[in-house]
């Protein structure tokens, strides 16, 4: 693990008007790692990711990406810099076809040949998407939508990929294959992954490090291994 974090939050406060969802979050993600953020429903996990991506604006604190402060950068300028999110609920464009959803993943790109090549690549990762390429996104099953959301994110060429509850609402067998692919993406393209999950067990088995978020604050930071073996964590998040 190299010393310089690729993404760093310093005492970030943010929320929705009078609702303060984050009350001073500090965290670091290092290049090439899989980082898990676990926490109960409403802890502020999604808000953390949306604040990093410029959708929710921090009231206070700083966010650094590759050493550059990105608090003030408009959301749509971040994906071209390699910062990319698959949001909670996947948010497929329902009335666009599968192929159109993928093309929009590459919206900012102009390298025709590269886009075609990446399209082939994601179709080989998810053959089902190729079969359904002309179908509307909204007609896909939950698992297929999650695959499409991941594939669309890959079309953006992410260096840091934020995943918000990729297992939500999916059958266990599909969850397993999605997580295998997440691990592959991390390994093969050296993409840093921040994995937000309520399914703490799964997240910590996939990640190298983890943070625990409780009502807008980080309460614990450790190796994934140690968190998995932490008695308090097991009690609170792993159902023991």
């Amino acid at each position: 693990m190299s010393a310089e974090p690729i993404l760093e939050l310093k005492d970030v406060h943010s929320g929705y008007g009078s609702i303060k969802a984050l009350k001073g979050i500090s965290l670091k993600a290092y290049p090439g790692e899989i980082l898990a953020i676990i926490g109960a429903n409403g802890a502020g996990k999604s808000t953390t990711l949306m604040t990093i991506c410029g959708i929710v604006h921090p009231d206070q604190g700083e966010i650094f990406y590759k050493g550059k402060k990105i608090n003030k950068i408009p959301a749509q300028k971040l994906p071209p810099m390699g910062l990319c999110q698959v949001p909670e609920g996947r948010r497929i464009f329902p009335r666009l076809t599968v192929e159109e959803n993928l093309i929009l993943g590459a919206f900012y790109r102009n390298d025709r040949a590269g886009i075609d090549k990446d399209m082939e690549h994601v179709y080989s990762l998810f053959p089902i998407l190729k079969e359904r390429s002309r179908q509307q996104g909204g007609t896909l099953s939950g698992g297929e939508q999650q695959m499409l959301a991941l594939a669309r994110a890959l079309m953006t060429k992410p260096e840091v990929l934020l995943l918000d509850e990729p297992s939500l609402g999916l059958a266990p067998i599909i969850v397993q294959s999605i997580f295998d692919i997440i691990a592959d993406i991390n390994k093969n393209s050296d993409t840093t992954i921040i994995l937000v999950e309520q399914n703490a067990n799964l997240a910590l088995q996939t990640a190298q490090r983890g943070y625990v978020l409780e009502t807008g604050r980080i309460t614990l930071e450790d190796d994934a291994e140690s968190l998995l073996n932490n008695a308090d964590i097991r009690k609170a998040y792993l159902g023991e």
């Binding site: 991506c53 410029g54 948010r91």
Partner: protein, 302 residues
């Protein structure tokens, strides 16, 4: 039968014009859920720029030497002017208020009055006459006459509608427009700047309306500072009839309203011609509250 065919041609001509205006209402609604009351004024402004440009050409004798160039110039100027006007209105009067739908709606109403008064002050309260000599004559088949002007209007309308369809359904920017209409947060997460797309939507809608403004001026022989109200109202009916937010619906709604109006005037009573559009609208909404193509149901929604 001749009479029927004649009315059909007249109805399609008018319907196409309504369709062009209706698209602006429907596209803007599709992207930011705003009924843009000022849209009729973009149409009127286009009509004025058209007559100013054509009068200039005639004064310099260019219509004799380069008639097509004059016409193309008049259309281009009108469309570009209205497009910029619409983008300006959106940036100044709508964008800062986007947090509240009611505030934007009232602002649109205000902009409509403001622009109408602006045109009255600068262009006068009297009708401004369009030069008629550009399109004299036509084809006659028995009792049916199709004027060259009608042919030009129908051809131009078809080309514009076709072009818009290509843009929205076949290009990356069209995809981005549809994506913005569906989910602005997700659009931002794939690097689409929704403000740019919204501006573009306003520009395209106003450009189409401006083209209709020039054609209406040529067709009826003049423009008037408040003509955007009446025609805008009917085009809005067309958009609602087709299912507001739906592009194909607006085209269909425009044609239906145009045909109903012309046939109603021809076969029932000319005095009630403005009423037929509203009767049809009420009749359809009674059975299909979302309009013919419905909202959020069909894939042709923006």
């Amino acid at each position: 039968m001749d009479y029927f065919i004649q009315q059909l041609v007249n109805g399609l001509t008018l319907g196409g014009l309504y369709a062009l205006i209706a698209l602006g209402y429907t596209m803007v609604y599709g992207v930011i859920f705003l009924i843009n009351f000022a849209h009729g004024e973009f149409f009127t402004a286009g009509g004025y720029i058209g007559v100013i440009a054509l009068s200039y050409c005639i004064a310099h004798g260019y219509t004799q030497t380069h008639p097509f160039l004059c016409l193309a110039g008049a259309f281009s100027l009108a469309m570009i002017y209205s497009a910029y006007l619409a983008v300006g209105v959106e940036k100044i009067a709508y964008l800062p208020l986007r947090g509240s739908r009611l505030a934007v709606l009232l602002s649109a109403l205000g902009m409509s009055i403001f622009l109408q008064n602006g045109m009255m002050l600068t262009q006068g309260v009297m009708d401004k006459a369009y030069p008629g000599e550009l399109f004299e004559g036509g084809f006659s088949f028995g009792m049916v006459t199709i004027s060259y002007l009608q042919i030009m209007i129908i051809t131009m309308t078809v080309l514009l509608l076709f072009g818009l369809n290509r843009l929205v359904y076949k290009t990356k920017i069209g995809m981005a427009m549809r994506a913005t209409a569906q989910d602005k947060t997700m659009s931002a997460l794939v690097a689409i700047g929704s403000n740019n797309i919204i501006s573009l939507t306003f520009a395209i809608g106003a450009g189409l309306a401006a083209a209709a403004g020039v054609m209406v001026g040529l067709y009826y022989g003049s423009v008037h500072y408040d003509m955007g109200f009446n025609l805008g109202m009917k085009a809005f009916c067309a958009a609602v009839l087709g299912g507001i937010g739906n592009i194909t619906g607006a085209m269909l709604g425009g044609l239906i309203i145009g045909l109903v109006e012309v046939f109603g005037a021809g076969y029932i009573s000319g005095q009630y011609k403005d009423v037929f559009a509203f009767i049809i609208l009420i009749g359809v909404l009674y059975y299909r509250p979302t309009g013919i193509m419905g909202e959020n149901i069909d894939e042709t929604r923006v």
